[in-house]
Subunit: 452 residues, 2 copies
């Protein structure tokens, strides 16, 4: 992006003089990366203008650029494109992108296209668009470089040269038996270094990391990243090869999943588009539900306070320390839950580590609580004397321990119940820790100060 900072202005001029032909031509000529062109078209043009502009480009360039438009923009552009353009795109796009595009179309457009598509493409499209969003199946492409068993290296290279154009990557080629079961993989590197007469079956690697099509896309990211794969084969229960997922698609999913987790950590429901492209209503909707739910969770704190109204009336000075104490419990809890949620997400910790983590958290939170009690006691001394310092310091230890243990346990519990552990968001943990803090503080105060 930085490399092309000065480009939009120039292009803007071209748009003010409404010569879409010239603009399209400029893009086609421009030595810009397709992803940059896609971004600039999105920023500068309406869906209709993008469609017009794309139609003026050579098919290969048009396809590359279209593939980099965001899903929302693709949907808008597709809605105003004619059938002919869509047909060309569907045939030219990588099979996985074609399936995604197909899923974005209206049912009339889908029906029209299926009628006119060549039978082979139609089958691929229906095969790939069958898997729901968020699964490995939805990410895979069927344009795989394949070889049969029982051939030699020279023959393998001949086949590769002949079929390369239809494959998304030829750097890893999959070897399948006559029943289309995956039996091995070979890298192009190994192939071009091997003797021409060497047997493919002896050269290939037989231990393969694979995934089932209905597994979650988060698992795709984990496998590709853990095993440094260029591509991950998707197989059915009978080990038949259905497709592959390339590393670049896995990287996109990794970013998408990280964003989703980060948003969830602040009690925001997943957004489908970037922040600026999400409609105001969708932004509102993604935030309002949890905020309302948390109001009711916060009522627990209110009820706790109401219960101790006499204590407060007897010693209004106690309220001075309320935000500080419940805030500290919430903050320590937020830290503990965030560490757990992320640890579970990247596979650093598992359900089996529960007791060990609990022991560690007890020690760390205990030390934190003690440190914070020491930090806050002088303030208690200063504002209310020895009694208040004791109540505040003692409450701090209990509240920080409570918040931390709550924060670390909630994600585990949710994980155990097969919920997304990230639902144990910072606001949820903070709110629950607050309620515990209110009760702890006033109960201790009532007891230690003899206010009941």
């Amino acid at each position: 992006m930085t490399e092309h900072k000065d480009k939009p202005l120039e292009l803007n001029l071209a748009i003010e003089a409404p010569v879409p032909g010239e603009l399209g031509w400029r893009y086609a000529q421009a030595s810009l990366q397709p992803v940059d062109v896609a971004d600039q078209l999105t920023a500068l043009l309406s869906a209709e203008e993008i469609a017009t502009c794309l139609d003026l480009l050579p098919l290969a360039r048009r396809t590359e650029i279209f593939d980099y438009l965001s899903e929302g923009v693709q949907e808008e552009v597709a809605a105003v494109s004619n059938l002919e353009s869509l047909m060309e795109l569907l045939e030219a796009l990588p099979a996985d992108s074609a399936a995604d595009l197909f899923n974005l179309l209206s049912s009339e457009q889908q029906a029209d296209l299926l009628r006119d598509l060549p039978a082979r493409n139609r089958a691929t499209l229906q095969h790939l668009s069958r898997y729901p969003d968020g699964t490995a199946g939805a990410l895979m492409t069927s344009e795989i470089s394949l070889l049969p068993t029982g051939i030699n290296v020279q023959r393998a290279l001949e086949i590769l040269r002949r079929t390369a154009a239809g494959s998304e990557t030829i750097y890893h080629t999959y070897i399948v038996d006559p029943r289309h079961r995956l039996v091995g993989v070979i890298s192009l590197r190994k192939l071009i270094l091997a003797a021409p007469k060497a047997s493919l079956d002896q050269l290939m690697t037989e231990e393969l990391v694979t995934i089932l099509p209905d597994q979650h896309q988060q698992e795709v990211v984990r496998l590709v990243s853990r095993y440094d794969l260029l591509a991950l084969p998707v197989v059915d229960e009978n080990q038949r090869l259905l497709g592959i997922i390339t590393y670049d698609d896995a990287m996109d999913v990794a970013e998408e999943e990280a964003t989703e987790d980060i948003h969830l950590s602040a009690s925001i429901a997943p957004l489908e588009e970037g922040l600026l492209r999400t409609s105001l209503f969708n932004l509102y909707r993604s935030r309002v539900m949890w905020l309302i739910l948390l109001i009711f969770a916060n009522l627990i704190s209110g009820v706790g306070i109401a219960f101790f109204e006499d204590t407060i009336a007897a010693k209004v000075a106690l309220v001075f320390f309320l935000p500080l104490l419940i805030g500290s419990g919430g903050n320590a809890g937020a830290q503990a839950s965030t560490l757990m949620v992320r640890g579970l997400a990247v596979g650093d910790v598992g359900l089996g580590d529960w007791t060990r983590l609990l022991g560690r958290e007890l020690l760390v939170a205990g030390a934190l609580g003690l440190t914070m009690a020491i930090a806050v006691s002088p303030i208690g001394m200063f504002r209310g004397g020895y009694d208040i310092a004791l109540v505040v310091g003692f409450s701090m230890i209990v509240i920080v321990l409570f918040g931390s243990l709550l924060g670390m346990s909630l994600p585990f519990l949710l994980h155990r119940l097969n919920w997304d552990p990230a639902t144990a968001s910072t606001p949820l943990v903070t709110t629950l820790a607050d309620a515990g803090g209110v009760v702890t503080y006033f109960a201790l105060a009532t007891w230690l100060l003899g206010l009941h």
Copy 2:
């Protein structure tokens, strides 16, 4: 991991009978992926045992497994390894991993190794270990597949076959002029599909995405992911090729950076190891600083409350709504800051979008505040009558607006000041929103209820 769940037990038995030779032999024979072996060695053995075990393996396997140990474990194992093993490892590891390992060694080990290493390896090592952690330079490898300009495809393939063993990837080959300046790139796919006599200079792609060695590793992730690169070339200011960064290293950095951002979002300083391997003291240290700082930020709320002590004494029922109101402001603020921090991190929004985002946030937060005021007013009515309902509802709108605007502005401000926007963590925003909430609520109550 899931595939090998049953393995540790079996290996555990082998350890209880202390035959490290047998254990090593089992691993060498086992058809496990190196990353899985690395994980199991880490879980089951001490650093000394790992070193012994690795020494029994063939060098290629040993190198692969060592490369997958975490940095902390590598450091421990290296500390107890003899010089000979280290020398073998340094020569066999990919250049980038060798440089990382070298940086982990004690200065005596470093000096001893530099003395004994062949001159060429020594130069590479010193070249690569020069760049500080977190920069593009620290991620690159110098084992690049290179071609000169002015040759044809057949000659190019000959060179590649001869030099492939020393390159980390041969799927993209870089073309350099006699002064080692990067002039183009060609994919192996293109090479094997081209006519043998075709000119390399005409086939190569000349538009290259590159990076300078001192740029931040986050930029590496952005470029590799945005342009779907297999490898990103690192060049100096004169366009001379220094090394490449492969996509798998970029994926690791992406995960590391996401973890760091997620931890920062909960005011946790970056951890260098996974949750279970971080020492208790380091865990304590990564959490305590912000917790203490936030105590003092929370004092603002305390001072606010002290200022309104008379209002509270006059109407203790007001305290019932305190956690609910300040909690809501904090939660809305946490949402707004999280959206901004992530948007800035993935490049979705930039400084230039400030006014547009501000306008959008005003509308969304206004709608949220209104909704929440409507949700909470009946409770106010029920607990304190019309007056209280009015104060609580009106406070809610102001507090949610204040929290949201604070939450969205703080990351922008920090970004503007060239700080990490993620420093605007959820606990920080929540704490500041709390303070604003306290003052708003009691000021409105004092005024609307005529309590002054």
